[in-house]
Symmetry: none
Subunit: 219 residues, 4 copies
DNA sequence: TATGAATGAGAATTCATTCAT
DNA sequence: TATGAATGAATTCTCATTCAT
């Protein structure tokens, strides 16, 4: 009669012992939970639930919530930089390269709305976690080099304007996509207009491309 | 604008009986606390402390944390829209109007870093609070009308390109500033370069102006 | 913009100054609130609201919650004993007197479900409040005398059995009605049968009368 | 049955890891606390203290106060129905069966004054908790069947009157005992006479038996 | 590697009551 | 007689984390 399961948990036979699998599951679950609720709002309980893992195991693999968050951040940055590598921007014409980068950024932000949410959390904490990471900065220099190359080629061929800072440009491209996506809910509300409808999405991509190329391309 | 942590003049003398003053103090304190820690991370205790008010009084005037948060959001939007009104964009030449708007947005985002933080929280909650506000949408239409007027004047005089959606443009201008400011910590970290140094700030404003005018102005 | 009314209250012009009226309103409101939520669950705020009186006024007239509760109890006992007086049991035949008393008790319990609730609260507190009242015990002796008279007349005429303790009988009559009413919700639930439907009420009164007269009447 | 207030053996040594034991302790403590103070007046802190359990553990096993209360109610009903089963009313003569039931009810109400208190709380809440229980109604039908059997046997042998509704009778028997016990404090006060003295108890049982058998038995 | 049991330090919120006018 | 403003002391519940196996 007594002997009831602790309030929530749904039974569950013990998990097959696969260290790698467990860690990956935890990381995936954590990423989703952090994205959905922010660092502060995330619940270790829910992460364990999502990952179908005993809560204690999270502490076994990752030190605690903060370390787990950092692990998620590193993983997420790795993912996007890897994806960017696939673009092969150095192999194509400058204008086409820029178009690709914009389209990629836009689509990635659409498919990975969690990214901005995670970064918002991290910014709220003044990048406290990222600053502890050693590999982060190194992950980003290739991107800047690639972009510098594109800009330089464009300038040399007389298509692009001169004096463009690759980082400024990269931030601007990211801004145009991520700000729109990340503030989607408030923007839709204050402007009383759906920003992620099919038509709206097409319009936004077109607008962003116009803005960036209108700026870069001479004449 | 956001007061740095301490404040907390834990008054020993009783509070003067001034309802308006109390409410304003609470609202100010709440704005700072929410900005600094997000909705979830904000502590009612700290808000009371900052406002030098008995915690109970917050519940007396505002229903609870969520309603307080909404009150802060409304107030913050009101502030920025009011400030924008002062720009008198309809009174000046289109190009000058756009320059002013960009510069204003940039400076406002610098002086009010709390704004983006608050909105991030609200987006995390899918605009749950704002959606309950009745006055919000009405607060924003003047802005769009003003911008539409500027764009139309520019187009008529042949200076601006045609077919520019005022909302898209407004979002883009906001994006260029707010994304940069709001992600300042992570961006500075991954690019290993201070983004808010004196020189960096000048460069950013210049870059944003170039981008937007490069896009708008026909040859 | 600030200057909002404390969370709940609906405006209200100041109350016309009528001490008696105010006290009665408070007492009525308190009786209902205590009946609905018990002593512990009652809220001074709600009592003030129900009475359309400033909360502070309650403290002005009644010392606080406990004293207010006692005032309610005294009032409620007074009401029922007064009503019983109207029955004029000494004026009618013994059997008829008993019938009247049962019917009265039943109807009173139906019309005043608050009574049992209030008494439950008081019993929970071991009659702490009532024990402070001086007039209570005096209020009840007439009832017992009346009942003793009825029983004695019945016995003398050979209709009623001898040796019946008036208090025991009174308690039993009250029990049959009040227990049924007071436990209506749980009883209806465990027996899965509505106990206060029109038909059910008729049946109960009939049953109770049968029980009591079956016991009292010889042969 | 209800332990008098103190208990609270605030263990310094850590609790043995025995889930069943912990849950039972909590349930016992909760029953006592709820009985003593009602649902609203009960304090989770005190329950934890009584059970010598960390407060948090209560939430671990039971969802919160309300669920805990329901668990207590179910347990308490289970106990009494189990005890009634032991009476074997179907095995004895009808008159004897009724005597047994009355005596049992009386003694149970004396030994378990918490029962009525708990039910008062539940009725105050309009059986909100019980209505969520699935097993409750099923627990009570055996009782009614047993009683129907007794009445029928009595009627057939000509000893009992016909047309007696088992539920009505059961409620009346319960009423005579539980009302007396449950209102003991107020009744003793208003009648200024101790109702639970040794002699008084004997008299009450005798009175109740007379009432019920006086009603049931023909001639 | 994996898990159920247990906990201490907060967190928001509630409430009767008092202050000042 | 009447009221709005203000408060201290609880109270329920939450949460990351640790213990013991």
């Amino acid at each position: 009669m007594v002997n009831k399961e602790p309030a929530k948990r749904r039974a569950a036979e013990p998990r097959p012992r696969d260290a790698d699998r467990s860690q990956r599951d935890i990381l995936d679950a954590a990423r989703d939970e952090f994205a959905l609720h922010g660092l502060g709002g995330a619940r270790m309980d829910r992460i364990a639930g999502r990952a179908a893992v005993n809560k204690r195991l999270i502490y076994y693999y990752f030190e605690g919530k903060e370390r787990l968050f950092l692990a998620v951040l590193e993983r997420v940055y790795e993912d996007i930089r890897n994806a960017e590598q696939q673009l092969e921007l150095t192999q194509v014409e400058p204008t086409e390269a820029i178009r690709r980068l914009i389209a990629f950024t836009w689509n990635y932000s659409l498919e990975h709305p969690e990214l901005q949410t995670l970064l918002n959390s991290e910014n709220l904490h003044r990048a406290r976690h990222l600053k502890q990471s050693t590999k982060i900065s190194a992950m980003h220099s290739p991107l800047l080099h690639t972009l510098a190359d594109v800009l330089e080629r464009g300038r040399k061929s007389g298509v692009f304007r001169a004096g463009v800072d690759p980082m400024q440009l990269y931030i601007s491209i990211a801004a145009l996509s991520y700000f729109y996506i990340g503030n989607n809910h408030t923007l839709s509300t204050i402007f009383d207009r759906p920003l992620l409808g099919t038509k709206a999405k097409v319009e936004r991509l077109s607008h962003m491309t116009d803005v960036v190329l209108g700026y870069l391309v001479r004449e």
